[in-house]
Symmetry: C2
Subunit: 214 residues, 2 copies
């Protein structure tokens, strides 16, 4: 498979144990050179990857902010139990529910127990910072972690009926003292290594099992 000309998406693939693994990276914006973060890019690459690869399972791995009031610390790795958006306010009945887009993720009780990972709710929005309106929605979403992609990946996976799990490593404390962007950049390398390690453990755990055993 190849992605269409013009998109920055990158695919690495191979066989690991009994698994056909495809690692899809949204890549760097071709005009600006920065990572293609956010819900539009992640929903597109999820859609295109599902269409091309028909996966049995999606693992959305990435970094996130964490709320210390909910117990999150820098370097923690979470499996998201639920996802929702916090920046899609549509105050018309039922449209409001559509905007929030709350979804339960693929249940993985055995994986959580075996790897001793934390579980928490994930809230997604297209801003790295947090406005008061975002904060209010994040509280309603009961979120422990905050990212810029999860709920969009979950939406696409859900409508195309592919199970998805979300592994998020905490780079910054949203309700802490430090500015998010600074803390994010400071911790990105170390926390990425923790994420790398956790994803490897998850893939090892998945190997040889069916979805219902996770």
């Amino acid at each position: 498979m190849e992605f269409p000309k013009g998109v920055p998406w990158v695919r690495y693939h191979g066989i690991y144990k009994d698994l056909k693994v495809n690692i899809i990276w949204p890549g760097k914006d071709l005009a600006l050179g920065v990572d293609s973060v956010g819900t539009v890019s992640s929903s597109l690459v999820t859609y295109a990857s599902i269409q091309a690869l028909q996966p049995d399972l999606i693992i959305n791995a990435g970094t996130s902010g964490g709320f210390k009031a909910k117990g999150a610390c820098i370097g923690d790795v979470y499996i998201a139990s639920d996802v929702a958006f916090h920046d899609r306010r549509i105050p018309i009945p039922i449209f409001d529910v559509y905007g929030i887009g709350a979804r339960q993720t693929c249940s993985t009780p055995n994986l959580l127990k075996a790897l001793n990972l934390k579980a928490g709710k994930l809230s997604t929005g297209d801003s790295l910072d947090m406005s008061p309106h975002d904060e209010a929605a994040i509280v309603v979403n009961d979120a422990t972690i905050k990212d810029m992609e999860g709920a969009a990946v979950a939406y696409v996976a859900d409508i195309l009926s592919v199970p998805a799990i979300f592994i998020k490593a905490v780079t910054d404390i949203v309700d802490g003292d430090k500015p998010t962007a600074e803390e994010f950049l400071q911790n990105l390398v170390a926390v990425s290594a923790a994420l790398d390690n956790a994803v490897t453990q998850v893939v090892d755990f998945i190997s040889g099992k069916c979805i219902q055993e996770l």
Copy 2:
């Protein structure tokens, strides 16, 4: 062509004068029954439609809010000269530019003059309301109209190199006295008729011309 199982997207198509016309509607959310509004849905359906149909031109037609301070009135039909996002704040150098995603649209000076349509800048976000943070960004974007899809459609059209124009009819005055959701619902039917009429005129104008003549 058919869209994949699970997506609510709807395609109508036919020949009109010398044009092969495909009308793509994001459809109603299959779980909730409301229109699939917003940037994730519109970027996905734009991507899938371009892949399947390889169009020469995209017309993104829809409703929008308008700013009376910039001269917008209920029922006005605008062609967007520029698009940008107002709810993707990423305060890291260059990421901030990526988040705003400002793009000029396909230039159509002859179409604007011939049909006497208004031109203005469009700002896009996933909320129907407008938070103070959104408002500040909309001012920076110098926007006359505000919608929930345009900049996402423009992003996808841009990376896949398809020219796109944006026709937006004003259903509500954002900087007016009435609550947006109420005003939107009140005017939706009448303004949709104005949009319908304008899109027909635009398609008639396009017929027989190449992109450079628009």
